[in-house]
């Protein structure tokens, strides 16, 4: 730690709050306009090569897979990915050759499902560079700082460890207690990709189940692309406006994509496709298998709907809904062990 309490991690996604205010003023429309578009157009328009990208959801939960596959399909390159418990999403993006850098809270792993063959391969052979380390709470509070338009957030974790030494945080003396405290810098992703349960054509969105980091992340990201299980009438939003977790002025693009989180879980709606996840974890053990996966499921199909047909179509999707609805029992007969 330097005298200024600085560390060696690269500062990713930070902007001077005044610079970001100016950017918001000029680029985020406060007009309630129809933002419906296509997955392909949204990715083309808002995710240039080299972008700093964050995904809503967590692990294998509520991951915007239609958008993820489209990034691969459009052969996006040199992305820096925010590794905030980035699991299936970052794995697919690394396998697809889209990623050159990751800031890591949690990446290259699949929780209970084990480590990520292709993610680990990429970082161990130097194809993907880790820009720095951070903790989950630290990352989420970087989003909170950005959402609030302040330059940093105080945090009492990471202190004293190598995690902070390889982070972009700083340590100062708390003026009240006199104790050292960690400050994490605001993080404004260039673009965040979300999949939600329902939203209107303007982007006012509702999410069921846990919010994870998405309240803060939606407000921190400069651009926000939302796929949704269903586009609902604005009147439905108006009926219970307190259910809106993402107001329209944060949203740049809206696309209706039923089952848009497959093979990950959409809370209270459909369960993981454990077989497909296991298949990916299996084939991605080799570069060849990885390549074949993308030929089959991304380049081999025109769009996400065709992908859904390929992975099992209505029969499978109906089953995954039943597994979710009928849990715990139905679920326990099809879960992880497959």
């Amino acid at each position: 730690m330097s005298d200024q309490g600085e560390f060696s991690g690269e500062l990713i996604g930070w902007h001077d709050p005044d610079e970001n205010r100016q950017w918001v003023r000029e680029n985020k429309s406060r007009q309630r306009s129809d933002k419906r578009t296509t997955v392909a157009d949204a990715i083309r328009k808002y995710v240039p090569d080299g972008s700093l990208v964050a995904m809503g959801g967590f692990g294998h939960i509520r991951i915007p897979m239609a958008l993820i596959y489209e990034l691969v399909r459009q052969r996006k390159r040199d992305l820096t990915v925010i590794g905030k418990t980035a699991v299936h999403d970052i794995d697919i993006l690394i396998g697809g050759g889209c990623v050159s850098r990751v800031e890591v809270a949690y990446a290259f792993g699949h929780e209970l499902r084990g480590l990520s063959p292709c993610g680990r391969r990429a970082v161990e052979n130097g194809q993907v560079k880790v820009t720095g380390e951070i903790s989950n709470a630290g990352y989420q509070w970087r989003f909170l700082a950005a959402a609030m338009g302040v330059p940093f957030m105080p945090v009492r974790s990471m202190l004293g460890t190598d995690t902070i030494k390889h982070s972009s945080a700083r340590v100062i003396k708390d003026p009240w207690s006199g104790k050292p405290i960690c400050l994490v810098p605001a993080c404004y992703p260039d673009v965040a990709l979300f999949h939600v349960h329902r939203c209107d054509q303007y982007g006012n969105a509702q999410i069921d189940g846990i919010m994870i980091e998405d309240f803060e992340l939606a407000r921190a990201a400069r651009r926000l692309i939302i796929t949704t299980e269903e586009i609902i009438d604005h009147e439905e939003i108006q009926r219970q406006p307190w259910r809106t977790v993402i107001p329209f002025y944060l949203v740049d693009a809206v696309i209706e994509v039923p089952f848009g989180a497959h093979p990950t879980e959409m809370p209270v709606t459909y369960y993981f496709d454990e077989e497909h996840i296991a298949h990916w974890l299996d084939v991605s053990k080799t570069p060849e298998g990885t390549k074949k996966y993308f030929e089959e499921y991304v380049f081999g199909v025109p769009d996400f709907e065709a992908y859904l047909e390929k992975v099992g179509g209505i029969r499978l999707l109906t089953h995954l809904k039943q597994v979710m609805k009928l849990q715990p029992d139905a679920a326990s007969s099809t879960d992880g062990a497959s």
């Binding site: 967590f58 692990g59 294998h60 939960i61 509520r62 418990t85 890591v104 809270a105 949690y106 990446a107 290259f108 792993g109 929780e111 209970l112 480590l115 993610g119 680990r120 130097g126 880790v130 380390e133 903790s135 989950n136 709470a137 989420q140 509070w141 909170l144 945090v155 009492r156 974790s157 990471m158 202190l159 004293g160 460890t161 190598d162 995690t163 340590v171 708390d174 104790k179 050292p180 405290i181 189940g209 846990i210 919010m211 994870i212 980091e213 309240f215 879980e265 809370p267 209270v268 369960y271 993981f272 454990e274 979710m324 849990q327 715990p328 679920a331 326990s332 879960d335 992880g336 062990a337």
Partner: protein
């Protein structure tokens, strides 16, 4: 262990871990063995155990073992389905009694590495990183570690990387670094036994041996010297009732069959 046929190591560890959790307390868990232990405690001596998940699940009646920390089952019939901000804030504010973590390697002060094996910039093996582990070990009052592969390569003198804080460099060093006061590693459970940390030196100390394990095995399975007091107890073996409940919790043996 002559009991091999009646229970396996994972079942033993789950029961040992469950016994550490007091009723009416809160525990911050991930999935896997820690959650199995929490669910077991809840279904035996600690029905009032408050189980909390990083992604926002608060006080669920977990039906069967979730696969992911964000799995819908982590807030099945829960008191609240909130956010990471809410759960991490409550933890930082002192509401979390126990934290449950694993680790690839640990030193004598209970510092843990889950980031890299080898050099950080050119790792031999890249591990997932902190995730919420650094936060859990910083915020929770008592952090319990489950490491099923104690060996001189996992109980090391010097970690390649300190991902999450134990007692750092010894007495008072957590506080000097600015971490919350008065908390830290509480127990370490391995395939050989259970360890705590010396009140004064904060160095790891043997507390309990699993059935059939010798002190010699414990010593041989560590690069650093483990304090060995005179009075060592032996872990109770899983009861048939505990084993029955474990199979109820993890019917497909995702965790306990390992």
């Amino acid at each position: 262990m002559t009991e091999k046929l009646r229970y396996n190591l994972t079942e033993l560890l789950a029961c040992v871990a469950a016994d550490l959790l007091k009723d009416g307390c809160s525990v911050f868990v991930g999935t896997g063995l820690p959650l199995v232990a929490g669910m077991l405690a809840q279904r035996t001596h600690a029905p009032g155990l408050l189980i909390i998940f990083e992604a926002g699940g608060i006080g669920p009646q977990v039906p069967v073992l979730p696969i992911s920390v964000g799995d819908s089952r982590t807030y099945y019939k829960a008191s609240a389905a909130s956010s990471m901000h809410d759960v991490m804030s409550a933890s930082q504010a002192g509401y979390m009694d126990y934290g449950f973590l694993g680790g690839a390697a640990m030193d004598c002060y209970g510092n843990v590495n889950t980031t890299v094996i080898g050099d950080w910039s050119h790792p031999k093996v890249r591990l997932p990183g902190s995730g919420g582990a650094n936060d859990v070990s910083s915020f929770c009052w008592r952090t319990i570690y489950l490491m099923r592969q104690q060996s001189p390569r996992t109980f090391v003198k010097k970690l390649d990387f300190v991902t999450s804080p134990g007692y750092l460099t010894g007495p008072g060093s957590r506080e000097r670094a600015g971490l919350p006061a008065g908390n830290g590693p509480y127990r370490v459970i391995t395939q050989l036994g259970v360890y705590d940390f010396h009140e004064v030196t904060k160095c790891m100390r043997l507390l309990v041996l699993h059935p059939g394990v010798t002190i010699q095995q414990v010593k041989e399975a560590s690069e650093f010297e483990i304090l060995i007091p005179d009075d060592i107890t032996v872990s109770p073996e899983p009861t048939p009732e505990q084993l029955r409940i474990l199979r109820e919790i993890d019917p497909r043996g995702m965790v306990i069959s390992k």
